[in-house]
């Protein structure tokens, strides 16, 4: 793996779910790439397909079309031992700290079960040390206080840290954090986000941070992808996307988010009207046309392509089409 090569890439991935006669196209030409040690945020409303992206990245789903490339090799359709080996490098941090830990197991058991086999051969003492180190890494100390606890004896934040530790136990290269703080008390959120960054610095752990909250995305991520209706509609550096949003959807998201400078206050005049489109219906033209305040004729017929709209910033909107910039992949 050369330093410039992305850690993982999704190339034109389609994913469709069938339920009886209903066919739902959740992902349509999804592109994404994460470099080693990079923190990428994926922002979108619920129903935009961001969780499907997460689950496809760990190959809980197989892409219908397109490729999933890990370290230069196509892992879209691998199985068995290969899949197992691939999954060791990618771990997930779940949204609900109550559902993500097995209520019948102690913290010790939970962690032990997540450690790879080879770590168990290194002797009892080393294993104990490993357990403690892992807990220390997620700032749960003293570790002895926690090892014999059951999940229901822990607070939400503690639980999420245990889940974090469990994921770290495998020594992954990429952590997919699917709304890891949304169910935590506000006071605990910052702590967890800081922990994520710490581990990024200390271990070079890459993240895909999935959230609906632009502010926290900007806080942790270096790059932000904005998702709408199964595709990326804008991407760029965190500062660029938040400070100079180009796509009308991103602009609305930014306007609706609370201003970090004036805590708690937000511009009440800006709301995103309407709902995301029904993905089980065929969509002609731009999927955002139904809610876009700037909608014009081409939006109704053609789905726009991704165009460069600034330095390292791309958007998928007909407003920028005239400039005919190079089409690039997000």
């Amino acid at each position: 793996m050369t330093p410039t090569e992305p850690l993982i890439q999704m190339v034109d991935v389609d994913k469709t779910f069938r339920q009886g006669h209903r066919v739902t196209r959740v992902l349509r030409g999804m592109n994404l790439s994460i470099n080693p040690g990079e923190i990428v945020a994926l922002v979108g409303e619920s129903g935009s397909g961001k969780s499907t992206v997460a689950q496809t990245l760990v190959r809980l789903y197989e892409p219908d079309h397109g490729q999933l490339v890990y370290a230069g090799s196509d892992v879209s359709h691998i199985r068995g031992g290969e899949l197992k080996e691939f999954r060791r490098h990618i771990q997930m941090l779940f949204q609900d700290p109550f559902a993500s830990l097995n209520p019948t197991q102690t913290v010790r058991t939970i962690l032990l079960r997540s450690f790879p086999k080879e770590s168990k051969t290194s002797g009892q003492k080393a294993l104990e040390q490993h357990l403690r180190d892992t807990l220390a890494e997620v700032d749960l100390s003293p570790p002895d206080n926690f090892l014999s606890k059951y999940p229901h004896e822990l607070s939400g934040g503690q639980r999420q840290r245990v889940a974090f530790a469990r994921a770290l136990g495998v020594r992954p290269q990429l952590m997919i954090a699917d709304e890891p703080v949304s169910m935590l008390d506000v006071s605990l959120r910052l702590g967890l986000l800081n922990l994520m960054q710490e581990l990024n610095h200390s271990q070079g752990l890459a993240y895909l941070y999935i959230t609906h909250d632009l502010a926290s995305a900007r806080y942790v991520a270096s790059r932000i992808l904005v998702m709408y209706a199964g595709q990326v509609v804008e991407s760029g550096s965190a500062d660029a996307v938040v400070n100079r949003p180009q796509h009308p959807y991103t602009q609305l998201l930014v306007a609706a988010a609370p201003d970090p400078e004036q805590r708690g206050k937000r511009d009440e005049s800006v709301t995103i009207n309407g709902e995301p489109p029904d993905l089980s219906q065929e969509i002609r033209g731009c999927p955002f046309q139904f809610r876009c305040p700037l909608v014009f004729d081409p939006c109704l017929t053609v789905n726009p392509a991704m165009v460069e709209v600034g330095e390292n910033q791309w958007a998928r909107c007909h407003l920028f089409d005239q400039r005919q910039k190079t089409v690039v992949r997000g």
Binding site: S100, R113, K149, S155, V186, A215
Partner: protein, 297 residues
């Protein structure tokens, strides 16, 4: 932030030490049920020491009422009722426990396989489960035992094979929801083998449903065996509560006023069944907290 899905943690203090208190010990019904079951098990185990005579020996004056020599009198065949009751405990409990365990085992196997594997395995197992649910079990058991003329083991097998479907159905639906739990997803991601996922992550979380299913299956087995024995389709040479009733009925014990022969085995079955259902009842309350709490207003 716009979402209010903040969870208020009831146990925010991280320094609680003891394991969760076991609610079974704080439920009177459960205690009574457990106590009775323990008593029956004790009788089944120490039976040979407290039976007073050989249970099948037709050696006493027939049809005597209770006395100090025969605590529960003698049968019309000259057997000691008390000894039969004590020895019968063993057979009845054995059939109840084993048939219940085998039925529950099949239910767990089918339910989890169905819920975990999904796809065509689930389809086939679900159809099988539904067929066994719909085909009435008592007539089937009666016909099977009439055709096959079984001993105790056969009866255990037949009862189990006709009574697993209810359990399998509820375990399957629980397995379906458990399979989607994040910790199960994580276990798969962490590279655990299917059996590790099933036995380590899924099964422990179904424990209360499995136990409740087991209790149900045991009650069912107890009553089915008694019914079969009563019809003379069981192993009538073995001494069990059911065969005692069969012989009593055969000798018109009630009409001849020999209540001491007819009443005790029925009471024993009813008491053991009641103990099992009390335990099940309280288990329901413990695992479904809504049933426990008193009305708010």
């Amino acid at each position: 932030m716009q979402e209010a899905s903040v969870v208020h943690d009831p146990t925010s203090s991280p320094v609680k030490t003891s394991k969760p208190r076991n609610p079974l010990w704080h439920n009177t019904k459960a205690l009574i049920g457990l106590g009775m079951i323990a008593l029956f098990i004790l009788v089944a185990i120490i039976g040979p020491w407290i039976e007073r005579y050989a249970p099948n020996a037709e050696i006493f004056i027939p049809g005597q009422g209770p006395s100090s020599a025969h605590w529960l009198g003698t049968t019309a065949l000259g057997q000691d009722v008390w000894s039969q009751l004590v020895v019968g405990t063993r057979v009845s409990l054995l059939v109840s426990f084993l048939a219940g365990i085998v039925a529950t085992f099949i239910a767990v196997l089918v339910g989890i396989a169905s819920g975990y594997a999904g796809g065509w395995i689930d389809n086939i197992l679900s159809i099988l489960t539904n067929i066994f649910l719909v085909i009435p079990s008592l007539p089937l058991v009666i016909i099977l035992s009439a055709y096959l003329h079984l001993g105790n083991w056969g009866i255990i097998f037949v009862i189990a094979i006709t009574s697993w479907a209810w359990g399998a159905r509820s375990l399957r639906s629980q397995a379906l929801t458990l399979v989607q739990r994040d910790y199960v997803v994580h276990a798969k991601l962490a590279g655990q083998a299917w059996w590790q996922v099933i036995f380590g992550e899924i099964l422990p979380n179904m424990a209360s449903l499995v136990v409740s299913g087991l209790l149900f299956a045991m009650i069912n087995a107890l009553l089915t065996e008694a019914g079969l024995d009563f019809l003379g389709l069981g192993n009538i040479n073995a001494v069990s509560w059911g065969t005692m009733l069969y012989w009593a009925q055969n000798s018109e014990a009630l009409i001849n006023g020999m209540w001491w022969w007819f009443v005790p085995p029925g009471v024993a079955i009813a008491a053991f069944g009641a103990a099992l259902s009390l335990l099940n009842f309280s288990l329901d309350e413990i695992t479904n907290p809504r049933l426990r709490q008193r009305k708010v207003r």
